[in-house]
Amino acid sequence: MGEVIVITSGKGGVGKTTATANIGTALAFNGKKVVLVDADIGLRNLDVVMGLENRIVYDVVDVVEGVCRLRQALIKDKRYPDLFLLPAAQTKDKNAVSPAQMQELCERLKQEFDFVLIDCPAGIEQGFKNAIAGADKAIVVTTPEISAVRDADRIIGLLEASDLGSPKLVVNRVRIDMVKKGDMMNTEDMIDILAIDLLGVVPDDESIVISTNRGEPAVGDNRSLAGKAFNNIALRILGHEVPFLELEVDEGFLTKLLKLISKR
């Protein structure tokens, strides 16, 4: 029985889709059977980030409406051993799938896959409610900006109200030069404010733009620092204790975190 993880943020543009693509690819790279589900119906993008946009025949709405079988809608990513994409519909709206249908879909996918990663739409309306309906766990993505952290806090509250307590935090697009100058909140600041556990810190990295242009997730690029950070996140999901990258956190926080881990 697999695990359904929803990747969410509240605010748009913080990197949910990039995180979903990269974490999913890294999990597949580590030998897991993974399916990425794009729950952003009407504004699908996971397909282009993954570089699979030309292979879509059926989508998630076709599956729940019974137009096609689940198997037919799953696109296999040939670059990785066991990675699949279930694309969103582009011409329907957020109400095309109900929470109950989403739950049922997740249950079916869990039977076949080790990990079901759901790319959640921005916002807190129906699309968000649908995306989290079948999830076992949640990852909240934020950037070190006041607006993104505020929205993350709201999302954490809503996840807790939906029995998806203890979500894990991914801080995306950290600029270490700005953090050092005191012009960007550091990870410790955000953990302090949001009071949730940290899953990973991803540096702001040009390689993400380039890899997205190409439709190849950055985890496949050994020189990409962001790719490495996403791979570390995947390893932590798999239960490995991976130290945070040198640039990610200052010493004081790392010691604190190690203490936190050893307490378990």
């Binding site: 006041i146 505020r150 806090d153 100058k181 005191g182 012009d183 960007m184 404010i193 009071a195």
Partner: protein, 94 residues
């Protein structure tokens, strides 16, 4: 060099500290749908009760809603935090 960075980062006027403080304030209101009059009522009652036992600094008394991790299972719970500076204890209880 690193110390230099650290100390400058800790300086209260650095923009990240401004962001952090603004964020903390805005989240206090976001997190609970408690009106400020509700908190003022609690504050008034607290002052009334505690003043029988000690002299408190009413101007710097702070009552706010926040959240905290529960000790036993680490789940987040809302918490009412009252910061009540004491000026001096009243004679009767000493």
């Amino acid at each position: 060099m690193i110390d230099l960075f650290r100390s400058s980062a800790k300086h209260s006027t650095s923009s990240k500290n401004v962001a952090k403080e603004r964020l903390k304030l805005v989240l206090v209101h976001d997190r609970v749908n408690v009106s400020s009059t509700f908190l003022e009522m609690i504050k008034g009652d607290l002052i009334k009760v505690i003043s029988d036992y000690m002299e408190i600094d009413e101007d710097n008394l702070e009552v706010k809603m926040t959240k905290t991790k529960r000790d036993e299972d680490d789940t987040l719970v809302p918490a009412l935090v009252a910061n009540i500076p004491i000026k001096r204890m009243k004679g009767a209880i000493r």
